[in-house]
């Protein structure tokens, strides 16, 4: 059973995270803008996740197609395979799985990086040298994560569909043009737009939680490990909550 102190500290943390979010939006619109650092973070975050997202996307495509094919074959509905795979990947599986792998890589990386900067007084040194560390370290990382995840998801989805096509080509002798023609015929704006919008929220949540855990890291080197670990756990949990809200809202507007 959860102890009252644990429940209390959970709500305190939610309060602190809310304040942290408020501070992010406040600092976001105030000069000076750390544009060079933002570009550097976009490159770093995107580059660090590229291979992981590519491999994950490819395997998602292969596995979904391999697992679903026998069932569709039983009903003689193999021709529905591109439509089914594309809708499930674009709407749900692609964004969620890629965001989870992104959280594992980026939230932990940001948590550990900022955490170690905190315990070695680098953040204090930045503050004393007249640079706002929240703006330089936090705002740029959250923005970079928000910008890069949707791009990575689009890329990951494309690679997943290509993986699916390879299986279809090997097992069902379907050509590239036919496969992707069926994919695009099956997809509508109602599939693409909400799925893309929610990835911005995923990216924001991952960057926010990673920065929050790292920026307020305590207890020395042990704290750095805890910050990295809890950043992944907390951001993954948050992803599912955002996903549920996104699906719920999409259902209202697009009647999925």
């Amino acid at each position: 059973m959860l102890k009252p102190t644990k429940i209390k500290s959970f709500f305190i943390e939610i309060g602190e995270l809310t304040y942290f979010t408020k501070r992010f939006f406040k600092e976001l619109f105030h000069k000076p803008f750390e544009f060079n650092e933002l570009l550097k973070q976009c490159y770093s975050i995107g580059n660090r996740s590229l291979l992981l997202v590519g491999v994950t996307g490819f395997i998602i495509g292969l596995v979904i197609t391999l697992q679903t094919r026998p069932t569709l074959e039983e009903f003689g509905a193999e021709s529905w395979m591109p439509s089914m795979v594309s809708i499930s990947i674009i709407r749900e599986i692609g964004p969620v799985i890629i965001a989870l792998t992104f959280a594992g890589r980026i939230a932990s990386g940001i948590g550990a990086e900022l955490g170690s900067m905190r315990v070695t007084e680098q953040i204090d040194a930045m503050e004393v040298s007249g640079t706002n560390p929240f703006k330089f370290l936090v705002v740029t990382r959250i923005l970079a994560s928000t910008i890069m995840l949707p791009i990575l998801v689009v890329l990951g989805d494309a690679i997943a569909l290509y993986g699916s096509y390879i299986i279809e080509n090997l097992k069902g002798d379907v050509s590239f043009l036919l496969y992707f023609n069926k994919v695009f015929n099956a997809l509508e704006f109602g599939d693409l737009i909400p799925a893309t919008i929610k990835t911005y929220f995923f990216g924001f949540a991952i960057g926010l939680v990673g920065c929050f855990k790292g920026y307020y890291c305590e207890k020395g080197t042990v704290g750095v490990g805890l910050a990295a670990n809890s950043a992944v756990v907390f951001s993954s949990m948050l992803l599912f909550i955002i996903d549920f809200i996104a699906v719920f809202v999409t259902d209202i507007f697009f009647e999925i």
Partner: protein, 259 residues
């Protein structure tokens, strides 16, 4: 509030000089534990003032309050005529360019080269040097002062502990501050490197004509660099005077520092 034991008047008299930095009745608690309990301090221009205290006595808390990294519970901190706690962010950042801070663990940015570490404080404060575009001469000058020009393109993890401390000092000096705060400048260093750092601190003070506040529990460091000392005990300035006078004191708590 406990009265400070004035063991001996230092050569610098408060009647003739205006303090460049003044702390009055500073209080700071963490939960029920009062770390600073009415601490007072005056640092005069060109002076080397050493604060000694046991580990956990509140020395680092005091110095962090001094640069606005921590908010005190009460009391006033006046730096060059400005109340630190009354300043807005922009004015505080401007004032911070007049204060160099050498952190206990050097606190070099480990993802940046030595050059980038030194250029970092200049990013927002080029106006102090007439909005110069080329910062290289300033970086080289600061590194020359600490004798480490050849390390300019190295990463901090490629430097020894003593070299890191010297680079950190170069970074603290790059904006040519009027006050330098040293937080345990010799901690974690071997005796020979400690002596080099102490020597460097004296040289820097002469060259830049800075006022220095040195937080330490290294008696050798205090003996060499101090013009005046304050012993921080139980959150207050327990004793104040020159190194020699404090060393000759018969007070048990004062004697404990020099054993």
């Amino acid at each position: 509030m406990k009265e400070a034991v004035n063991i001996s008047n230092s050569s610098i008299s408060s009647d003739t000089h205006q303090p460049i930095l003044e702390i009055r009745d500073l209080k700071k608690s963490f939960g029920n534990k009062a770390v600073l309990n009415g601490f007072n301090l005056k640092l005069y221009e060109g002076e080397n003032l050493v604060i000694m205290g046991r580990s956990g006595a509140g020395k680092s808390v005091m110095v962090k309050c001094l640069v606005g990294l921590m908010l005190p519970d009460s009391g006033s901190i006046n730096v060059m005529g400005q109340d630190i706690n009354a300043l807005n962010r922009m004015d505080l950042d401007k004032l911070r360019t007049e204060i160099g801070f050498l952190f206990q663990g050097s606190a070099l940015y480990d993802s940046m080269t030595v050059r980038e570490n030194l250029e970092f404080p200049l990013r927002r404060h080029k106006h102090k040097f007439g909005n110069i575009t080329d910062t290289e001469p300033l970086v080289l000058e600061a590194l020359e002062r600490v004798g480490l020009v050849n390390t300019i393109d190295l990463m901090p993890n490629e430097l020894s502990g003593g070299m890191q401390r010297r680079v950190a000092l170069a970074r603290a000096l790059i904006l040519k501050p009027k006050i330098i705060l040293y937080d345990e400048p010799t901690s974690g260093l071997d005796p020979i490197t400690s002596k080099e750092i102490i020597e460097l601190m004296r040289r820097v003070q002469k060259q830049y004509k800075t006022s220095s506040l040195i937080i330490t529990h290294d008696v050798d460091c205090a003996r060499v660099v101090s013009e005046r000392m304050i012993l921080l005990v139980d959150g207050v300035n327990y004793a104040e005077g020159t190194f020699q006078a404090l060393r000759a004191s018969e007070d048990d708590k004062v004697k404990a520092f020099f054993k």
